[in-house]
């Protein structure tokens, strides 16, 4: 398994678009954090403290890119047919897919952690007073987990659809368009939307109207859906012709 993870890591870091995506996601969140901190500093009432969760508002944009990354990690293998040399060299397909998942989610988690830490640094430098409280700690770990989970979901869709562009469209349109439309039409369906419930983990002031799940329940529900999608993708990749 270590050999397969090493192989997937070499593949991951040796493709330009993958590295660009990861770095862009981190940079985007940090840039938005700078803008948010600047805005917050202009509107901070005397005696009021700013929090880390106030400036990590760029996370949904990073998710856009992390989802794309998840699709790319498997979709490009099919697009360029490199999946064939991959599975010839290592015919244990499920193990290869697990190695891919380990590499891409680890990379995403590390970048997410670094970008949130950078947000904390930006807050400390630009905002006063600036506080990181218990809720912010939940935001930090929720963001890291959600980014990794979103990448896993993207990889699962990539394995199911095998066309990177189509899989990206499905992933992003579902999250950013379809779920919002469904919620607007039927509030009762809101609890069953994976993205809008999962993202509750990453926000400082989650929805309290009862329309969405709590951050913990929303996170669990999101990971169940992401895992199911990934498993379906893995089973299909194992059974289908490469």
């Amino acid at each position: 398994m270590i050999d397969l993870i090493r192989a997937e890591w070499i593949k991951f870091r040796s493709v330009r678009s993958t590295v660009v995506l990861v770095l862009s996601a981190g940079a985007l969140v940090i840039l938005i954090a700078v803008l948010a901190a600047n805005d917050k500093s202009n509107h901070l009432a005397p005696g009021q403290s700013a929090y880390l969760g106030d400036i990590t508002v760029g996370v949904p944009f990073a998710l856009f890119l992390f989802g794309t990354l998840g699709v790319q990690i498997i979709g490009q293998e099919y697009r360029f047919n490199t999946i064939r040399p991959t599975f010839t060299a290592a015919p244990w397909r499920l193990r290869v897919l697990v190695a891919k998942l380990a590499v891409v989610t680890s990379a995403t988690a590390v970048v997410a952690l670094v970008m949130v830490a950078a947000c904390g640094l930006i807050g400390a430098l630009m905002l006063s007073p600036f506080t990181i409280d218990g809720t912010d700690q939940r935001v930090v770990w929720g963001t890291v987990l959600f980014c990794a989970g979103w990448t896993m979901l993207g990889m699962g869709l990539g394995a199911i659809i095998r066309q990177p562009i189509a899989a990206m469209l499905v992933l992003l349109v579902e999250a950013f368009v379809v779920e919002n439309i469904i919620v607007a039409i039927s509030e009762g369906a809101a609890k069953w939307m994976p993205f809008v419930n999962g993202i509750q983990m990453t926000v400082r002031d989650p929805d309290e109207s009862g329309m969405f799940r709590s951050p913990l329940n929303g996170g669990i529900y999101f990971f169940v859906i992401a895992t199911v999608i990934w498993v379906i993708g893995a089973v299909l990749a194992t059974k289908r012709d490469a």
């Binding site: 192989a7 593949k11 330009r16 360029f80 490199t82 064939r84 040399p85 991959t86």
Partner: protein, 326 residues
């Protein structure tokens, strides 16, 4: 050794490979021939467990590919030179494959030198010519120094020097006792490289055995005769039961009697001979003959600019499968 038994692959109502069984022996180059759409590439993918067979199985040295702890140390393959990520460097492509089987980095340098790509190891493969990609694919197949090699059209895109190189390369691998299974549409190349043949048409086995047996199976042997007294000789041969076919101005092809018999006949007639050449059908001739009924895709010989090939001597009344057919 590669052994396929009862391989079958269906795509909807189409049977691409139909109960195909064959053996590829060690220490020999085995050519895999068939017309376009015969199922060669599908079969090769099934040999490597990339395409799932609907029935049948392939064993390499008695094992499934998945049973080898480090598959690249036992089986190397080049199915298509284009199976590369264009923005990845050549060296990194090989590193990733080597790492998946726990092979050391020095093997990457070794195989890059083997195929003459060491100088472009740090270049992105998107800038490679087809021939360079082909060499990179060959390098990948040799990473684990495997006993069994599977190549699909390995000479594609290679220049004449490259084709000569691959010819010697494949022969060299077989002479080391390795199993070499190679498909090619370059029949003249195959005639020079292969010791054995597996010939398929419409997914089914047509022939398996040594190249010589395949060529002999068609028994297309004839004698070309040129003479100022061609009519006289031709009539005598025809009356003697030989098959005589015009072979251009001043020449006939004769099926039946040997060159010696024709020479003696000419002498008895007092005729002068300018040519008396015993001929044997080429691998290409035999291949075209035995696969004539098994071609999925054929050109329109009546198309503008196309001319029908000269008729070969009449085939004997024998089945296409040789003595080695499974």
């Amino acid at each position: 050794m590669i052994e396929a038994r009862g391989l079958t692959k269906r795509y909807g109502p189409t049977t691409a490979v139909d109960d195909l069984s064959f053996r590829v022996e060690s220490g020999r180059v085995t050519g895999f021939l068939g017309p376009n759409g015969a199922g060669k590439s599908t079969t090769m993918r099934m040999c490597l467990d990339l395409d799932r067979a609907d029935a049948g199985a392939v064993r390499i040295d008695g094992k499934r590919l998945i049973d080898f702890p480090k598959p690249m140390r036992s089986v190397g393959a080049l199915l298509d030179a284009g199976y590369l990520h264009p923005t990845r460097k050549a060296k990194e492509h090989l590193w990733a494959l080597a790492a998946s089987n726990g092979l050391p980095k020095k093997r990457v340098d070794h195989v890059l030198g083997l195929v003459g790509l060491r100088e472009v190891a740090n270049k992105r493969v998107g800038s490679f010519s087809l021939g360079m990609k082909q060499r990179l694919g060959l390098a990948a197949s040799m990473l684990g120094d495997p006993q069994t090699l599977v190549f699909d059209e390995p000479a594609n895109g290679l220049d004449p020097e490259g084709i000569l190189w691959i010819r010697n390369f494949l022969k060299g691998l077989a002479s080391e006792g390795r199993t070499v299974f190679v498909s090619s549409h370059l029949l003249s190349e195959m005639a020079l490289i292969a010791d054995d043949l597996v010939v398929i048409g419409k997914g089914a086995l047509i022939f398996q055995g040594p190249v010589d047996a395949f060529v002999d199976s068609a028994a297309k042997k004839w004698v070309t005769v040129r003479s100022p007294q061609l009519q006289q000789i031709g009539d005598a041969l025809h009356n003697g039961g030989a098959q005589v076919v015009a072979a251009g101005p001043g020449a006939i092809d004769v099926v039946g009697p040997t060159a010696a018999q024709i020479g003696e006949l000419a002498a008895s007639l007092g005729a002068t001979l300018h040519e008396l050449s015993p001929r044997t059908a080429s691998l290409e001739d035999v291949f075209l003959e035995v696969t004539a009924g098994a071609q999925e895709y054929r050109g329109d010989t009546g198309a503008v600019g196309a001319s029908a090939p000269p008729p070969p001597p009449p085939p004997p009344e024998r089945g296409p499968a040789g003595g080695g057919a499974a």
